[in-house]
C-alpha cells in the first residue's frame, strides 16, 4: 500500500517553543488512522503542516511519494488532502449544493456560475457516499451532524484522497456518531483514507486501523488497535500510569442532606426517588435519552419538574421552580457545556472565579468593594491548582481541563451544600481528568457537601462515586454500591438496561 502522507523526523518550533520534536508519521491508502495525545502535544501543528498552513523547520514531508520542502494550502488540496475543521467552514447563507461545489469553483476560477451544473455535481458527491438530503436546502437550516456530512461531501467532490477530521464527534449525539462511523467505513472501502484526531479513546479504539500516540511533539507509540487497550493508550499519552484511588465514603450522618421524592417531568422522567447524604458522591448514569440530563437540570431549576418534592435537611421545599431558588438552597451546578453555560470566556480567570458571589462582595455603601474582591479572588484561586494560570488572562486562554477547574472554583467560592456535576470531564485530557476527580473527592470528604455526578464514563463513575443510580426510560432502574461491584458488572448493568430500551422503542 502506498503512503499518502509520510512524515520523517520533523521539527517545528514557534518563537522558541517546540511544537514538533522529531515527529514520524505515515498514513496509507484506504487506512483509518487515529492521532491522539493530550492538549498541546503537537497534533494540530502536524495537521497544519500537512494542510499547508504551517511550514516546518527540519525533516521530510512526502505526499503521494513526492517530497515537499514546503507546501501551500492550495498544493495540499491539489494532492487530495482535505481537512474538516470543527466549525466545518461552511457558508450558512448558501445552499448545500453551492457549499459542496464552492472550493472547486473558486479553484477553477470560473467567471460565471452555472447553477444547473453545480447541482448535478453536488448530487454526484452525495450519491457517492449515499447521503440523502435536499441539496437546495440552506446550510443554516441543518443540524450539526448534517453540516458535517455536507463538509465530508465537499471533500469528496474534490476527489479527496485523505480526509482529516479534527475532533469530529465532539458535538454529535451517539446516534449521529454511529452514522459518522458508517460513513467513515464507506469512505475507507472506496479507497479514501481518514485521519481521525480525537480525545475519545473508546471511539478511537472502535474505528481505527492504526493509532499513533503523540506526546511532546513526537510519536511515542504506534500500533494497530487489536494490540491496545484504553489503559494502554492512557499510559502512552501521559507517560505515566494513572492509578486513581477509589473514593472512600465515610457516612457522617444518617439524616439525608437531600431527599428527592416522586420527582416527575412530563415525557422525561417519572417517579424518581433517591437520597443524598453529606460527604457522598452519588453517580447517575444510563444511556443517552434515559432522562439523566433532564433530571440534573430539574434539580437546579433550569427545567422545572412537573410534580414531586424535594427535602433539604429534612425540610420539604416542594419543586425547585427556578435557578434562583436552587441558589437560595445552596445548590451548585456545573453544566455539561462549560463554554456556553459555565464561563464568561472573554473575561479573566480571576473575574470568573468570583462571578457567582460577586453580589456579596460589597462595602457599606452597597457598591462593589475592590479590596474585598481582590482578597476573595486570591483566596478562591488558591483553593485549586491550575497549572500555567495567570489570573488576569481570559479564561479562553486555558485548556479544557483547566477551564473546568475554574468552573469548580467558581462554585467553591459560594460554599454550596449540594453540587451537581453534569459530565464534568467531557473533552478534558487524561491528566487534567484525574486532577479534577481529586478536587471533587476532596470536596466531598473535606467540606462534607453532597455531590451528584451525571456521567456516562464508567471508569469515572467507578473511581469517583460511592453509589451509582442507573436510569432507564426516565426512571431509576437499579442502584449499585461501588464497593460491591466491578467495572464489568456496572458496564453490563447499563448495557442490559439499555438493550431492553432498544427493544421497546
Amino acid at each position: 500500500m502506498a503512503d499518502i502522507v509520510d512524515i520523517r523526523d520533523m521539527y517545528k518550533s514557534f518563537f522558541g517553543a517546540v511544537a514538533l520534536d522529531g515527529m514520524n508519521f505515515s498514513i496509507g491508502e484506504g487506512e483509518v488512522h487515529s492521532l491522539i495525545g493530550e492538549n498541546g502535544c503537537g497534533k494540530s501543528t502536524m495537521i497544519k503542516v500537512i494542510s499547508g498552513f504551517h511550514t516546518f523547520d527540519k525533516g521530510h514531508l512526502y505526499i503521494n511519494g513526492k517530497e515537499y520542502q514546503k507546501i501551500t494550502p492550495i498544493e495540499s488540496m491539489g494532492e487530495g488532502i482535505q481537512v474538516i475543521y470543527q466549525d466545518f467552514s461552511l457558508f450558512t447563507n448558501m445552499t448545500i449544493a453551492e457549499n459542496i461545489t464552492m472550493y472547486d469553483a473558486v479553484n477553477k476560477n470560473n467567471k460565471f456560475v452555472n447553477w444547473h451544473k453545480m447541482k448535478k455535481e453536488a448530487k454526484e458527491a452525495l450519491d457517492r457516499i449515499k447521503f440523502d438530503i435536499d441539496i437546495d436546502k440552506y446550510v443554516y437550516e441543518l443540524t450539526v451532524a448534517q453540516k458535517q456530512m455536507v463538509a465530508i461531501c465537499r471533500a469528496i467532490a474534490q476527489d479527496a484522497k485523505l480526509i482529516i477530521m479534527d475532533e469530529p464527534t465532539s458535538a454529535l449525539t451517539s446516534k449521529e456518531i454511529e452514522n459518522l462511523f458508517k460513513m467513515v467505513s464507506r469512505l475507507k472501502s472506496s479507497g479514501v483514507s481518514v485521519l481521525f484526531v480525537s480525545h475519545k479513546l473508546d471511539e478511537v479504539l472502535k474505528i481505527s486501523d492504526n493509532i499513533t500516540v503523540m506526546r511532546n511533539g513526537k510519536n511515542v507509540y504506534e500500533s494497530n488497535r487489536e494490540k491496545l487497550s484504553k489503559e494502554g493508550l492512557i499510559y502512552h499519552m501521559t507517560g505515566k500510569k494513572i492509578n486513581e484511588e477509589r473514593f472512600n465514603f465515610v457516612k457522617i450522618s444518617d439524616k439525608p442532606l437531600m431527599r428527592v421524592k416522586d420527582y416527575c417531568m412530563r415525557n422525561r422522567f417519572i417517579n424518581v426517588n433517591f437520597s443524598l447524604y453529606k460527604g457522598e458522591i452519588l453517580g447517575i448514569t444510563g444511556l443517552l435519552g434515559c432522562g439523566r440530563n433532564e433530571l440534573a437540570k430539574s434539580l437546579f431549576g433550569i427545567l422545572p419538574a412537573t410534580s414531586g418534592s424535594i427535602e433539604i435537611n429534612g425540610k420539604d421545599i416542594g419543586i425547585i421552580k427556578n435557578v434562583q431558588q436552587a441558589l437560595n438552597y445552596d445548590i451548585g451546578y456545573v453544566p455539561e457545556d462549560r463554554i456556553t453555560e459555565g464561563l464568561h470566556m472573554e473575561q479573566t480567570i480571576a473575574d470568573n472565579s468570583i462571578s457567582r458571589i460577586i453580589g456579596t462582595l460589597v462595602g457599606k455603601n452597597r457598591l462593589l468593594d475592590k479590596k474585598k474582591i481582590q482578597k476573595k479572588k486570591d483566596e478562591v484561586l488558591s483553593l485549586v491548582h491550575i497549572s500555567g494560570m495567570r489570573p488576569l488572562n481570559p479564561v479562553k486562554s486555558l485548556s479544557g481541563g483547566n477551564q473546568q477547574k475554574v468552573v469548580l472554583v467558581k462554585w467553591l467560592a459560594a460554599n454550596p451544600q449540594i453540587l451537581i456535576l453534569n459530565s464534568p470531564t467531557v473533552g478534558v485530557d487524561v491528566n487534567a481528568k484525574s486532577e479534577i476527580h481529586n478536587i471533587v473527592k476532596n470536596l466531598a470528604a473535606g467540606n462534607s457537601i453532597g455531590i451528584i455526578v451525571i456521567s456516562d464514563d464508567i471508569p469515572e463513575l467507578m473511581c469517583l462515586c460511592n453509589r451509582v443510580l442507573i436510569m432507564k426510560e426516565g426512571h431509576i432502574a437499579s442502584e449499585s454500591i461501588i464497593k460491591e461491584t466491578s467495572m464489568e458488572e456496572l458496564e453490563a448493568c447499563i448495557e442490559a438496561n439499555g438493550k431492553e430500551m432498544g427493544e421497546v422503542s
Binding site: 457558508f91 447563507n93 448558501m94 464552492m102 469553483a105 473558486v106 456560475v113 443554516y140
Partner: protein, 327 residues
Amino acid sequence: MKRFIKTNEFTLGIIIVAMWLIFGLVNPDILSLSNLYSITRASIISAMFALSAMLVIIAVGIDISFYAVGCFSMYVTVKFFVSNKMMDVPLSVIFIGAIAIAILLELINWFFIDKLNLNSFIVTVGTQTLYKGYLLAFVGTAYITTLPKAMKNLSVSYISSTTNSSGIESYLHVLVIVVIVLYILMHLMLNYTRFGRNIYAIGCDSVAAKRAGINISKTRLFVFIIAGVLCGIGGVFQATLNRAAVPADLVGQELMVIAAVFLGGALRKQARGSIPGTALGVILLSLISNNLILLKITSYWQQAVTGIIILIGLVIQSSKSAKEANN
C-alpha cells in the same frame, strides 16, 4: 413553489399589496397612475443608495457613509464645472467625475475596514462625519441652483405623463429605467458570477472563505469600488431630481435606506441580502411615507408609523429564520 412562498420577498410583496389596497380604500387617489409615478420618482434616490448599502452590508457589514460619499462627489463635481463656467460639459463627464471621487472616498473606507481590520459600522460613522464636515468646511456651503445644461435637460426627461383627477400632471422619470437596469445587472452579478458568490461567502464567514481560497482583500476592494460607482451616480441623480446641488443634502437620513435593506432580508446572521428583497424594501418604505401624506397624516406620525412597520418587518423575518433554524 413552496420554497418561494417561504421567502422573505414573498412576504414583503404581500405586505406591499395589502398596504396599497388598504390605503386605496381610504383614499382612491392612492390607486391612481399618477400616484404610482410620484412614488417611483420618490424611490429613485433611496433605491440607488440602497443598492450600494446592500452590497457593502452583504460583504463586510453595516455602511452608513453612502449618502456622505454621494453628496461629496456630486457637490465637488458640480461646483468645479459651475465655477469654471463649463456649463456645456457633457453628462458623461459629470458622471465620470462624480464616480471617480466617490470611488476614492470608498477606498478610504476599504483601507480602514480591510487593511486595518476595523468594524465597518464604526469606520463609516467616522468617514461619514469626516466627508460631510470636510465638504462644508473646505468646499462650500452654498446651494448651486444653476446646474450644467446637461443635468437640467436630464431633470425634465420623462418617459410618460399622466394627469390626475385634480388636474395635476405627473411624470414617470427617465432615471427609473437606469435604476431598473442597474438592479438587474447587480442581480445577475450577485447570482451568476463567481465574484458575486464570493461576496456572499466572505460576508458569511471570512475564515471559511479564506480556506476556500478566496482572496478576501481583493473581493472587498471591488465591492467598495462598485459601491463608489453607485454612490457617484446616486449623488448626481439627487442633484438632478432636486434641480440643485445641496452640500448638506441627504446625510442624516441613512437609516431609512438601511432599514429598507434590512427589510429586504440582509440580516447579518445569514447575510442573505437579495436584490428583489432590497427593491421591495425600498418600495415599501417610500409607499408608506408617500401615502401617509395623501392620507393627511402629520409628518411626525409618519415617522412613528414607519418605525412600527420596520419593526414588524424585522420581527416577521427573525421569527421566520428562528423557526427555520429549529427545524
